[in-house]
């Protein structure tokens, strides 16, 4: 009974003593000694010196002693591989024992000894055990295959163990089936070899579903997890799987329930959109999810993290279950915090209740929890307009409590409310101003400064307030400094007369006394802007702000879809794809895609990941939509540059370029730097290509210098000489300096000179027309060729052609009129403003029905990396909006716009080191898709 005594042997010379005991003749003494050894092992002492003595005890009839020796072996075999061999004989003999428990024990332990020489001996016994008459031995052997695979994958494949394992899927014993499933799933997860993949067909699925009803709770989890990876053939199969899995929702094991939920969530995607089946299934999902919330706190936590995902994907499921998310006073803090994020969205009906509850929480003790509650109140205000007023008054009540962190958090959210409902609640500004001194967190200070700057005209002492902040300018965090700079500029634009001194002070602080590049650059830009064109400055700085979205905690839709495939697993707890925390996962691509990207989620919800950053005055859209061309006015350009403040990454890049010229002095620095950027290809070419692709504003600006290098297909003969009385016309299309050209080569194969050339286009799908007359050096003497370029406009008469890209051309010379037709490469029609804003992109992608999505495998012959591809495409005005890495594959999200205003959205999946990639296009005008696909292939293959 009192095994604890083994823990207390701390004498010196203990190892020596143990050695003697282990070699004792008395069984009891031996056993005691081994127990002592194990106890020392547990607490971390090194007892590997006793290896031979312990192994000597292995030959025994006493099962308990044997188990202890095995435990020791598993721990130390690796450090003493040569001696471990001594044990092999006993293992092999035990695998032949009449007692199934001993046979299983031997094969189980042997699999845990990671010594190459031993694994060789393991194969034969394992093969026998997989066919053992006793199910207990078979189920142990099934797991052993996975162990062996972990040690030596090649061996497992060569020895045909995988096939034996697959046979076990049809075993009569449910536990054997479950363990075989678990082993196969693990092998196919970790092995890159196609032979190791777990093929699942209807037959195996049926077997699994049958075993599901009979096996242990753990076995059910293994089977359900495997089922969730199966892609049903059609919606009927999906439906029948769902039906057979649904009863599992009533299991008392939360693991079983969550795994079943995963199968059902995926199944619903396959069944299709809003069928009645899906609706009833959704109803069935709610109660078990709520029940999970009354289990142990740890399980509750896992459940809540998953509910968070489920609610985002299918908001309907828990919309009536609001109350279960109300926090209990004694919940552990992690459960309380989690309750928050999973909170289903507030609606007009329940807002009163929610608000009362939230206010209650805001008086709690835990700081984090209180902050989240305050933030949630703000979110309610932004979401439900009718409730905004009540929310604001609740927030004011909270500010009155004067609890420091509550006040600060409240000011941060009030700023968002101001953004959302301008000119509505400004009456409370004075209350806010009272708390100015107590703010010590950068977030709160920045928010307060934003408020003061934004409403400077209504705050009498705005200049005094801002000036007070200015005193400790250098001690503030960057965030506050930037905000202060912007706020004072705003103030100056509103009240220029009184605040000239202030603005000069802040500009000089920002530009001369600061070594933060972000701050310095913004300072210079404002300075220059104010000194060149105050009107433009006003337009830029006081521009109208874009709307902010209420769904700040939402995950990106693709990530959400991916995580839905990982419900119940760690990934769903962390809300990160497994590749983010599991090593070696990148090697293996799992089938983790949901079948259709259903447009669930609330209408209009953008699902963007960034939180609204309202401090900046510039609309986000501007950043991408204004692409400065050579003749753009300086002011516009500055406006565009300014908006880059939102995106610190490119801005830093930006400041790196002019850095060597720093001694040229303040203003020159800016001017010089910019001019050199714009001035032509020379400095731009000098920039490393990696910077050109940094995305955002900078990428566009840099793109300028190289925009002439759009892909130009080789010239083709459009009009052969025999058909045109000796005139041969070949040509192609190109874009240079944002102008589309038709490049023609005219050759005179006739005997007489030619002259008086003219050209005309028939109506065509995109309204292409010659922008000027055809300039051909005439006469064109016999045998002579002339290269001419014809600028094109896109405002000509439109008529849909068949084929779509067909262009009929008439060419006249002094001899005759000739007709020919050619195909316009579609990328000629991509416009330079085809970069969609990220949020708009997401919304549009959701908005376009899935039926308008077309997928195609396209070649990537040079196996370019995503950056290379993105760069290339950008040169042809296919813009990369976002890039993500999912399980080792890179996903590029791109947009392009045609001259007639058609948008095409694209998702490009790039597999490293693969010669193909998958292109999914989504657009409302399906006709252009084949052409766009072609354009992608051409551009990628040819540049």
């Amino acid at each position: 009974m009192t095994d604890s005594k083994y823990f207390t042997t701390t004498k010196k010379g203990e190892i020596f003593e143990l050695k003697g005991e282990l070699n004792s003749d008395k069984k009891e003494k031996k056993k005691e000694a081994v127990k002592k050894v194990i106890a020392s092992m547990t607490v971390g002492k090194d007892v590997s010196a006793l290896f031979p003595d312990v192994v000597n005890c292995m030959q025994t009839d006493n099962l308990e002693l044997k188990k202890l020796v095995y435990l020791y072996l598993m721990n130390y075999a690796k450090s003493q591989p040569d001696m471990a061999i001594m044990a092999v004989n006993t293992f092999v003999k035990d695998c032949e024992d009449t007692n199934p428990l001993i046979r299983a024990l031997a094969v189980r332990t042997m699999g845990c000894i990671r010594v190459d020489k031993i694994t060789e001996y393991l194969c034969e016994p394992l093969r026998k055990c997989l066919k053992d008459e006793d199910p207990y031995v078979r189920k142990t052997a099934a797991v052993c295959v996975a162990k062996l695979h972990d040690i030596n994958a090649q061996l497992v494949e060569d020895q045909g163990f995988l096939d034996q394992l697959r046979e076990l899927l049809s075993d009569s014993n449910p536990m054997v089936v479950a363990n075989a499933v678990a082993a196969l799933s693990e092998i196919s997860d970790t092995s890159p070899s196609p032979a190791a993949q777990m093929e699942m067909n209807q037959q195996t699925i049926n077997k699994l579903l049958a075993a599901l009803n009979e096996c242990t709770e753990w076995g059910q989890i293994f089977i359900l997890d495997a089922l969730s990876n199966y892609v049903p053939k059609d919606d009927r199969e999906a439906q029948s799987i769902c039906e057979r899995v649904t009863p599992r929702l009533a299991h008392s094991n939360a693991g079983v329930v969550l795994s079943a939920v995963k199968v059902l969530m995926k199944g619903m995607e396959y069944v299709g959109m809003e069928t009645e089946f899906v609706t009833t299934l959704q109803k069935k999902l709610a109660p078990p999810l709520v029940t999970l919330l009354s289990s142990e706190p740890e399980v509750q936590y896992v459940a809540l993290r998953n509910i968070n995902l489920i609610v985002q994907k299918r908001p309907d499921i828990l919309k009536h279950e609001m109350k279960v998310f109300f926090v209990k006073y004694n919940d552990p803090i992690y459960v309380k915090l989690e309750n928050w994020t999973s909170y289903p969205s507030a609606t007009q009906e329940n807002i009163a209740q929610v608000l009362a509850e939230l206010k209650e929480y805001a008086t709690e003790v835990d700081v984090d929890f209180v902050r989240k509650s305050v933030r949630a109140i703000g979110r309610c205000a932004i979401k439900v307009e009718q409730a905004a007023e009540r929310c604001v008054s609740t927030l004011l009540d909270l500010i009155q409590t004067k609890v420091n962190y509550v006040v600060q958090e409240a000011i941060v959210v009030i700023k968002d409310i101001f953004r959302k409902y301008p000119n509505k609640y400004e009456s409370i500004i004075s209350t806010l101003c009272e708390n100015l001194e107590s703010l010590d967190e950068p977030d709160a200070r920045a928010s307060m400064i934003w408020i003061v700057g934004e409403y400077a005209e209504r705050i009498d002492n705005a200049d005094e307030l801002l000036e007070s902040f200015l005193e400790g300018f250098h001690d503030e965090s960057t965030q506050v400094q930037l905000q202060l700079l912007t706020a004072i500029v705003k103030l100056f634009l509103k009240k220029p007369t009184e605040t000239q001194e202030l603005v000069q002070q802040v500009l000089s602080l920002a530009t001369q006394d600061s070594d933060n590049p972000d701050l310095r650059d913004r300072g210079y830009i404002y300075w220059r802007l104010l000194s060149t064109d105050p009107a433009a400055a006003k337009e830029v700085v006081l521009a109208e702000k874009p709307l902010i979205s209420s769904e700040t905690d939402r995950l990106e839709p693709t990530l959400l879809d991916e995580l839905i495939c990982y419900i119940a697993s760690l990934a769903s707890v962390y809300h990160k794809p497994p590749s983010a925390f599991v090593e070696g996962q990148a090697l293996v691509v799992r089938r983790t895609q949901l079948p259709v990207r259903s447009a669930s989620g609330e209408p209009g919800a953008t699902g963007a990941t960034e939180s609204p950053v309202p401090q900046q005055a510039q609309p986000v859209q501007q950043q991408q939509s204004v692409i400065p061309s050579h003749d753009t006015a300086m002011g516009d350009l500055l406006g565009d540059l300014l908006s880059m403040d939102l995106n610190p990454q490119p801005q830093q890049q930006m400041s790196m370029t002019p850095a060597p010229q720093q001694d040229m002095g303040g203003m020159d620095l800016l001017g010089g730097g910019l001019d050199s950027l714009l001035g032509g290809p020379s400095p731009v070419a000098g920039m490393p290509a990696s910077q050109a692709s940094m995305g955002g504003g900078l990428g566009d600006i840099l793109g300028l210098g190289i925009s002439s290098t759009t892909y130009v297909p080789p010239k083709q003969v459009w009009l052969p000489a025999p058909k045109a009385k000796g005139l041969e016309v070949s040509g192609t299309f190109s874009i240079r300096q944002n102008v589309r050209y038709m490049d023609l080569t005219l050759k005179n194969n006739a005997m007489a000179p030619m002259g008086d050339f003219a050209i005309q286009f028939n109506k065509n799908s995109f309204g292409l027309s010659p922008a000027s007359a055809l300039q051909v050096p005439s006469p064109l003497s016999p045998g002579q060729t002339a290269d001419v370029t014809l600028p094109l406009g896109t405002n000509g008469p439109v008529q849909k052609m068949d084929p779509l890209m067909n262009l009929q051309v008439a060419m006249k010379n002094n001899i005759d009129v000739f007709y020919f037709s050619c195909l316009i490469p579609i990328h000629l029609l991509f416009t330079e403003d085809g970069q969609m804003d990220r949020k708009v992109f997401l919304a549009t992608w959701k908005d376009i029905p899935d039926s308008n999505e077309v997928q195609k495998e396209i070649a990537n012959p040079n196996q370019l990396d995503p950056k290379g591809i993105s760069d290339k495409l950008q040169q042809s005005f296919i813009f990369t909006i976002a890039q993500r890495n999912v399980d080792g594959r890179d996903m590029l999200y791109q947009s392009l716009k045609l001259t007639n205003g058609i948008w095409v959205l694209a998702e490009l999946k790039i597999q490293p080191r693969s010669p193909t990639m998958t292109l999914s296009l989504k657009t409302r005008a399906l006709d252009v898709i084949p052409q766009v696909q072609q354009a992608y292939e051409l551009i990628i293959a040819n540049m």
Binding site: T42, K67, L68, W218, P247, E296, E298, F326
Partner: protein, 434 residues
């Protein structure tokens, strides 16, 4: 799957360490100790990721149990397993304590070897485990028949019951245990209320009996299955209840419940939890708490609390306890109550009022004057008033309709089985804000 399992005492010393996978090194044991057990701040999540290794932990009394993995494992499974592990250990040696674990470490290693293989949980049913792993060591010599019986049970379809059980008297006990949870606003509005119920069965039945169990669940009663049809509700009246959700012990045939709404099973021997359920509708709340808190100046507070019992006068509630929280800066309390005993417990920052029993439809009240030390600390957060009690009925209204036992192979019938049914309603979190 699970890469290893560690058990620590409250100081962070390792009591048990079993590693199943090669990717878990010895340093993982220390990583958890340093980052979680010895962490300065309270842990904010039961799942911790340290250097790409994930740790799942639960704490029972002052013992930490942690599972460690480097893979994307099923988190629900891991926590369920940890809880199961605790249950198994408890059934072998009682309370989870440092001494008990040290005293049984060989047994625990044996169990861990059996119920986790390469990190995959295997059969962890104690009644089966006990047939071949015992505290006094493994049964010395077992006959061949016994061996195969053990293995077939471990892997078998009915893994929770062994064959050949015999009783002279076939008897079963059913306990309907309900926890009623309430959160009420100071104004008496029910913010949330639900009953979490469990049906615990003790079965002493011979052979392999087939049981059928019936309750007054609306779903089961109207087989047509439409529970949200309002016309049916009135037709069946109060005699049936609406169960929001229920879960069953693994012995219950779930597919049969799904299709026929009948609860049929072969029960494990001895005590086990047959079913858990949850209801939120038509709960009869046994007590109502009416608080009245008045802050009289900065140094004085007056509290008056009235409790009303709301059930049949013939029934008696027991073990009633009302806990009225007091501010941290309380210096003295004077309590007046007509019934029961009330005491101010400074260490718990609460006035605890206890009543041994109270009949139905009665009312009782307590009033207290609380003196406060002047303090400039932030406002008191006013925790809710909580209440404990036990009543001899099921607040959800659940009734057991029948439990039929069939054992075709042995010569006893349903009538020969002695059956006992008991209803106990207890308070869960029964709180009223004040």
């Amino acid at each position: 799957m699970i890469g290893g399992l560690f058990i620590y005492n409250h100081k962070g010393e390792v009591l048990i360490s079993r590693v199943y996978r090669d990717d878990i090194g010895r340093n993982a044991v220390d990583a958890f100790r340093v980052n979680v057990i010895h962490a300065r701040q309270q842990v904010r999540s039961p799942v911790t990721n340290i250097a790409r290794t994930s740790f799942f932990h639960i704490k029972r009394s002052n013992i930490w149990l942690a599972c460690v993995t480097k893979q994307n494992v099923n988190a629900g499974l891991v926590f369920e397993f940890l809880n199961k592990m605790v249950e198994v250990m408890q059934s072998y040696f009682g309370k989870i304590s440092e001494d008990n674990i040290k005293n049984n470490f060989v047994l625990i290693y044996e169990l861990l070897d059996e119920i986790l293989d390469f990190g995959y949980p295997q059969n962890a049913d104690t009644s089966i485990l006990k047939t071949f792993i015992t505290q006094t060591g493994i049964k010395a010599q077992v006959t061949k028949e016994e061996q195969s019986q053990i293995t077939s049970q471990v892997t078998g379809q009915i893994s929770w019951r062994r064959e050949g059980i015999k009783y002279r008297r076939n008897e079963l006990f059913l306990d309907v245990l309900e926890n009623v949870n309430l959160l009420m606003s100071p104004q008496g509005q029910v913010l949330s209320a639900h009953v979490a119920g469990r049906i615990v069965m003790k079965s002493y039945l011979s052979g392999m009996p087939e049981c059928k169990f019936g309750i007054n669940d609306k779903l089961v009663l109207d087989k047509s299955g439409r529970s949200d049809d309002p016309s049916k509700v009135s037709a069946t009246g109060k005699s049936s209840i609406a169960i929001d959700d229920c879960t069953f012990h693994q012995c219950v045939r779930l597919s049969k419940f799904e299709t026929e709404h009948s609860i049929s099973f072969i029960p494990p021997d001895g005590e086990y939890e047959l079913m858990r359920y949850r209801t939120t509708k038509d709960i009869s709340l046994p007590f109502r708490v009416i608080p009245l808190v008045r802050e009289v100046g900065r140094t004085k507070m007056e509290v008056k609390v009235v409790i009303k019992s709301n059930f049949k006068p013939s029934l008696l509630a027991q073990k009633i306890e009302v806990r009225i929280p007091t501010p941290l800066n309380t210096s003295g309390v004077q309590v007046i109550c007509m019934k029961g005993k009330a005491k101010y417990k400074a260490s718990e920052n609460a006035i605890v009022w206890k009543l041994k029993r109270m009949g139905g439809m009665k009312e009782s009240q307590i009033s207290a004057e609380i003196e406060l030390l002047p303090s400039d600390k932030k406002k008191w957060s006013r925790p809710p008033i909580s209440m404990n009690f036990e009543v001899p009925f099921a607040p959800s209204g659940l009734k057991v309709r029948y439990l039929k036992v069939f054992e075709p192979k042995l010569n006893y019938s349903d009538h020969d089985v002695i059956k006992w049914v008991r209803y106990i309603g207890r308070s869960g979190l029964y709180e009223t804000r004040c």
